[in-house]
Amino acid sequence: MSRIVGIDLGTTNSLIAYMDKGTPRVIPNPEGVAKVPSIVGMTDNGLIVGDSAKAHLTRDPSRTIYSVKRFMGKGLADVTDELKYFPYSLHEKNGVIRIEVGEKTYSPPQVSAMILKELKRRAEEFLKEDISKAVITVPAYFNDSQRQATKDAGMIAGLEVLRIINEPTAAALAYGLDKKTQGIIAIYDLGGGTFDISILKLKDGIFEVLATNGDTHLGGDDFDQCLLDVLVEEIADKHGVQIHEHPDLMQSVRLAAEEAKVQLSSETEATVLVELPNGKYEKTLTRESLEALVMHLVERTLVPCRSALKDAGLRADQIDEVVLVGGSTRMPLVRSKVEGLFAKQPHSELNPDEVVALGAAVQADILGGHNKEILLLDVTPLSLGIETMGGVMSALIRRNTTIPTSAKEMFTTYADGQTSVDIHILQGERELVKDNRSLARFQLKMPPLPAGVPRVEVTFLIDANGILHVTARDIRTSEAQTVQVKPSHGLSDDEVEGMIRDSFEFAEEDIKIRQVIEARTEANAIIIATDKALARASDLISEKEKVEIQRVIGVLGETQKGDDHRLIRAGIAEVEKETHHLAEVLMDATLKEALESKKVSEFVK
């Protein structure tokens, strides 16, 4: 069986991990960095993902997509409040958001697929094998549409998604890998865009989720936003620059705000610096001032925590351990609030950015049949029901029910000869249909009989991914009926297939841009190395040689800014040729040094 990788597809950063002889490990890029910023840039030369796209944010904001996870499984009406913050235009088609970039439009799963492909490529390069199967994590509080959208993203990226697993439970797997861990643990997961709390019971290798709660619209992004609003206002007051009118400046200020926020987790003061068309904006922020700004957001996380405790039938003091997950838990304010609620010092031994991906790799190992010791029993975060008379939701499966689970419901007709019944599936905790999330609709076929005689049994099954499946059976004839479920905020199978085809067309452009980026990286490495060598060997080579080397480095420095990878490669070859002698001289010198130090050491002996 081929290898299964674990992927944390985050709002701000994504990671990929694998199992290395019983230990989960994240996969770094050649520079040793594991985090891939979840940012996609569409350039004239094709697609760029991750760090290089992040640089694009301020240069070409309308063609650089970030925080796409916020749009997964949603319609336009769900995000109207935050539209003004995003530099790109959105519209809706068949209930699904589409992001407009130039003349093209992309659905959120397509953009997520671009990030997944980058991770896949990274893993293939690192592990030197093809990757086609993955476990992908989602916030525990994601609804059915958001989970399905994540699965679609995997398919579009050419990955078979063997399991969608909840982020806090993945973190628990990474923490509790040691089978001896027992007791009740709470996982507090505050990421870039979402918040989750999960309470688990660990016993003899079984990880049983007792309750989960959260807010899929609360995370570090919102903290940045608070700070951003203040900065934007002050810039308008002091410098008369309306940041809202300059998407590129908006992104610069946003990045500066994020940076300051991160810095204020380890330091008590940070300075924000933004270059404006009419001068420099500079502001020193204190940790207290940031904390005052985001206090209401951090306190909002405590509400789901209390609800989860109540649903689990536990008091805060009955929690044995509290684990912090997600980059935003680095904030001292978050730590102290969590500590205050549970009256316990929270754990954060594992890197909060990496722990979710590590857990996904553990789950991948279980699915691959390599780990029979551990079993995760997760729950569905939201109640599932159907619309009944008077616009009321009737719950069929309650929130925090262990999955997989199913519920059966019998349907009949109310008019003679009626041949179909419309069914509307919902998710949520409120009484009225309009206050809950519409998941899907379908039409149940009925035999033409007097009213009340037909009996069709519908089974609503939530699988281990938290995704709903609907089947129907005529009780009188025992015949199964195929049900065509139309998702309210999801892509149809045909659309997903079309997007898979499109993604292949992209692949060609991808290769081109990749070659440029790789050549550029290599060029930069060579320039740095040569500069260092020149500094060390300045008295070992002639002045003429030195000048010539400096000239070819200068040329390479210029070519690598362009988009022609062949030119860059040629420049690299030129530098390699010119530094051949320098390398020899340095090698000799190093050898000589080594020999001398050996002699000294022999002498000492």
């Binding site: 063997l162 079984i206 691959g368 049949g369 029993l377 099954l461």
Partner: protein
């Protein structure tokens, strides 16, 4: 568990959940009830730790995580078995759901168990609902004194209802003992049937009154905050 044929190799299934010949997982019998699923007799007092142990053991046998590399038929069976097991566990674990389920099971054999609307409660509920209506209509500023008085009254009522709820649960507990005693002394389902039905009926009555009282207490809590 009844002996049956393996869906895959057609040999007689000798193992408990897996075919002894081809080691394929077998679908749980359609007639299996939640008590039998955990190999429990139909008693109301159960050892919850023992129940959890069996649940974990069966989860390890059925959970889809362990069938990821198997063929589609086995995956489907594992999913169905797992969904059934989870529902069974949730039902048996909770003392109220457990007795409700038992009554449904046993009522299959005897038809005359029906929940009667609690006549004595009816009037009380109507009165409380009227008071809550009045309370909602009062303005916190203008009618503050009247509102505070009514609030206090409703809160007292809620405490009284919660007290009654506790009493009912105690009464239910006593019935559990009675039922278990009858079941143990008369293992055959047809034995002492009248007495058993009597116990079931009185448990049903307590349960249905309890539901009314719980709902009322919750509504009071929501109204007065």
């Amino acid at each position: 568990m009844a002996r049956s044929m393996c869906w895959h190799c057609q040999s007689e299934v000798t193992g408990e959940y897996l075919c002894g010949q081809c080691v394929k997982v077998q679908p749980l019998s359609k007639d299996l009830d939640y008590f039998a699923c955990f190999k429990l007799p139909r008693l109301l007092n159960i050892n919850t730790q023992e129940l959890e142990r069996t649940y974990y053991e069966l989860s390890r046998a059925f959970h889809p995580d362990f069938y990821s590399t198997k063929d589609e038929s086995e995956k489907t069976i594992s999913l169905g078995n797992s969904a059934f097991l989870n529902t069974a566990y949730r039902t048996i674990k909770d003392p109220v759901q457990r007795v409700e389920y038992l009554i449904r099971l046993e009522a299959g054999a005897v038809k005359d168990i029906r929940s009667n609307p609690p006549a004595d409660l009816f009037e009380e509920i109507l009165e409380l609902q009227e008071d809550m209506e009045t309370f909602r209509g009062l303005s916190p500023e203008k009618d503050s004194t009247e509102r505070a008085e009514l609030r206090e009254k409703l809160q007292r009522e809620r405490e009284r209802l919660e007290g009654r709820q506790e009493e009912m649960e105690k009464a239910l507990g006593a019935k559990y003992q009675e039922w278990d005693g009858l079941q143990i002394a008369n293992a055959d389902p047809s034995e002492a049937r009248d007495q058993k039905n009597g116990v079931l009926r009185s448990m049903q009555e307590i349960l249905s009154n309890r539901t009314y009282i719980c709902n009322m207490a919750n509504e009071l809590l929501e109204t007065t905050g």
